[in-house]
């Protein structure tokens, strides 16, 4: 029993990180149909910038804020310099651009920062919380809480605000979006800023647990992508559930079956789900009549 | 034996009956038109006949055989061909290649022969190309043959679809609003083309809102409204039916209006 609880805590902690990354994917995807493979780098930057600012003497909350804002600004720059000029290019080309951006950011990070692994103190100390016989780090609660807050925020954004609707409209039909007066460039800028900001937030919250280094981005991107697809790309609910599910599957597999093949089990589950639900758990089928 | 007969076909989307208990028959050489208000279920009916939707009830008989819910590509090899209301063009290919694609069933062969470029593969491809060029000429697109299909205007694309559908040498041809986007003169050309095809012994099922066209070439007209058949008969008969006028035509002149 306590064992199960411990596995669940482990799964929730890791799952929350995946969920945060997956949530970051949804916005840019919703605005442009592009899966931004540089999303993981935003997470890395969130952690690395915070660490450096913190080392430089800023108080941790301020350092985190700096990191989130700087990363958001970088997201906007990426959009302006790389995505916007390539408008009209096929989606695969855009994907390659984001992969290129990911390689570039990683290359820049190892120059600007360093190649060491870093961490900064957990927000509420390191004393584990005891629940029944199991324990959980206070920082895990921060990450889980962060994932939930971001989810609620995004969900409200997409369902309750006109600008959120405009984001969806832009990806659904860019031409029509312009015709109804939506500044699609602004929508893209906003999406990149938000997406990068959320990515950085993930990095800030997760680093005390996962540690950070210039090359951690790709790992986050991969798991976040898998989580987002499992839940159904573009849907915040899907991203949240997908991320947590992958975390839980991994932890339970590691606990009860085999830690070696825990990722294998996660991917097998993804394959099975997609076999029966080709749009993921919550993905909506796009309706195109013929 | 009837070539195509549909019995009691029905389907619902999220509880709403889009088509309910519709039956009809088409014989070789016949042109049966389906008319009805927007959302009456005409396209949905086509989608069920051609295997794109699985009907909830009823069946489709092709040459007496039950083909309900059969995959579209199998239906194609049994002689069914169609065009779409929402254009389905191979945007990444040239106009000629689009037309050649229609010859797929005639030109396909062993994959290995294709990979190794064996003479048999070349022969098949050549025959298909010649056929495709002839068809493009028939719909007036011969000059556009080498253009990318994506660069054609709407009306031209509509005709390209017809050419592609004819390439299958179908026994049954389903045309969904073939004249949409064409002006009166262009419509007449299409009109002639359809009549010719029918005369060659093809069974044609036609959905069209251009009443002039429908009245002129149909052998039989079926009227749908809210998924149900509300009238059928000879064109002239149907166009005088008060229920049809109320639901669809608006006024009797509309059926004969010259516009």
């Amino acid at each position: 029993m306590s064992e199960l609880l411990q596995f669940l805590f482990s799964g929730l902690t890791v799952g929350a990180v995946y969920a945060l990354v997956a949530l970051g994917f949804t916005i840019i995807y919703n605005a442009s149909d592009v899966v931004n493979f540089a999303q993981g780098e935003f997470v890395m930057l969130g952690g690395m910038i915070t660490w450096f600012a913190y080392q430089a003497g800023l108080p941790l909350p301020l350092a985190a804020l700096v990191a989130i804002l700087a990363t958001a600004a970088l997201g906007v720059t990426l959009n302006k310099l790389a995505i916007e000029p390539a408008r009209g290019a096929p989606v695969v080309s855009l994907i390659i651009i984001t992969i290129g951006a990911s390689v570039f950011i990683q290359g820049a990070a190892q120059q600007v920062f360093d190649k060491q692994i870093h961490s900064f103190p957990a927000f509420s100390g390191d004393t584990p919380l005891r629940v029944l016989e199991a324990t959980i780090q206070p920082q895990s609660l921060w990450v889980i809480g962060g994932a939930l807050v971001v989810f609620v925020g995004l969900w409200l954004f997409f369902t309750r605000t006109l600008i959120g609707r405009a984001v969806l409209a832009t990806s659904n039909n860019r031409l029509a979006a312009q015709l109804v007066g939506i500044n699609t460039n602004f929508v893209m800028t906003l999406s990149f800023a938000l997406s990068a900001g959320i990515g950085a937030l993930a990095g800030v919250l997760a680093t005390p647990i996962t540690l950070t280094a210039y090359n951690v981005g790709i790992g986050f991107a991969l798991k976040g992508f898998a989580g987002a697809m499992l839940g159904g790309m573009g849907n915040p609910k899907g991203a949240l559930v997908g991320g947590f599910l992958i975390g839980l599957i991994e932890a339970l597999t590691a606990g009860y079956l085999s830690s070696t093949y825990k990722e294998a089990v996660a991917f097998v589950v993804i394959l099975l789900v997609l076999f029966f639900m080709p749009q993921g758990l919550f993905g909506s089928k796009s309706t195109e009549r013929v | 034996m009837t070539l195509l007969s549909i019995e009691g076909l029905g389907i619902a989307f999220g509880g709403i009956k889009a088509v309910h208990d519709v039956s009809l028959k088409v014989d070789p050489g016949e042109i049966v038109s389906i008319i009805g208000p927007n959302g009456a279920g005409k396209t949905t009916l086509f989608n069920m006949i051609s295997g794109i939707y699985q009907p909830d009830s009823g069946c489709v008989l092709l040459e007496g055989e039950d083909v309900t819910g059969m995959a579209p590509f199998r239906l194609a090899s049994r002689g069914m061909s169609r065009t779409f209301q929402n254009l389905q063009i191979f945007q990444n290919m040239t106009v000629l290649e689009n037309a050649i694609a229609g010859f797929h069933l005639q030109e396909r062969g062993a994959v290995l022969a294709d990979l190794l470029h064996l003479p048999s593969s070349r022969r098949r491809a050549r025959a298909a190309e010649a056929g495709a060029r002839a068809l493009l000429a028939r719909v007036g697109l011969e000059r556009a043959a080498d253009r990318e299909a994506g660069s054609l205007s709407y009306g031209s694309l509509k005709r390209l679809e017809i050419a592609r559908a004819l390439a299958l040498r179908p026994k049954v041809l389903l045309l969904d609003e073939p004249a949409a986007g064409c002006n009166a003169v262009e419509t007449e050309e299409i009109d002639q083309l359809i009549a010719e095809v029918a005369a060659s012994g093809v069974a044609i099922l036609l959905v069209e809102h251009d009443m002039k066209l429908v009245m002129r070439i149909s052998s039989h007209v079926v009227v749908l409204d809210q998924g149900e058949k509300i009238a059928e008969g000879a064109p002239a008969e149907v166009s005088r039916d008060p229920a049809v006028i109320a639901a669809y035509l608006g006024s009797e002149e509309a059926a004969h209006a010259d516009g």
Partner: protein, 359 residues
Amino acid sequence: SAEIKIGASVSATGPAAFLGDPEAKTLEMLVEEINAKGGINGEKIELVLYDDGGDPNKARTFATRLIENDEVQAIIGGSTTGTSMSILSVAEDAEIPFISLAGAIDIVQPVKPYTFKTPHTDRMACQKIFEDMQKRGIETIGMISGTDGFGASMQAQCKDVAGEYGIKIAADETYDPKDADMTAQLTKIRNTEGVQAVLNPGFGQGPAIVTRNYRQLGIELPLYQSHGVASDGFIELAGKDAVEGVRLPGTALLVADLLAEDDPQKPVVMAYKTAYEERHNEPVSTFGGYAHDGFALLVDALTRAGSAEPEAIRDALEATSALVGTTGVYTMSAEDHLGLDLSAFRMLEVKGGTWSLVE
């Protein structure tokens, strides 16, 4: 020119940057140092350095390039076992001496004429740890290993050699190097009957996270880490509280200050440590030490050979005797192209937030 050309291919970026980055920095520094002193036998050394990113395929290409295009006289490098295996086959074909910086014993066993290596093997690390366990009366342990090359190779070696020390591995878990939480695996180990200690082969952030999770779960059993994390950075990452009491086999480099004054390694490690830390403003690591030793071996051989002919270098390398490096004291022979024994390792323990020697 009459210069001596030395080639290097290390994994300065990519997943093994941990190893390759300090190695590259060390080589560059040492070459500069030696040239400032006038070179070897009056000849300057030119270093041609490539970054293979840990990809064996790239490493092979760079090895070819070093030999065929840059015409180097010897190669140092191969941060990982995979890259080393790639380079060695090219070097052996071309009959160019190659000093590997990777751990696996397969690199020099069976002995290949032109291939040497500096790091102690994983097996030796396992042996050192098991010796220590034996002393503490530990008989049953749990293992949690990274699935990267380093972790997997050491895991296999430890499992292989455990029996010799009468040690039973009751739980054998793994984690992916990118994993963020190992509490599930550790819980499983904790709940395994009879486990008296836990051993964690791996490098990078994994061991730091394992150490933290270990304390989070309140496991009181002794925790052994590998030489993969023998650096001050590890203490910082895992957190001073969590890391207290952790033991690992490390080289003299890590405890340079603690070495006895008469320790033969003391001057060597102190010189390297001071120079490196001054120049790069980051702590030395065991891995940089491997490169240091590889270079020292080569310089020593070149000096003795009095020629830069590959053949002569090889012969001189094989005749290396009692060369003091950071990792240990090297004595090569035709049967032994590593030349280290278990005394190269020292058992270290974290006490009061710093490394200390276990007597």
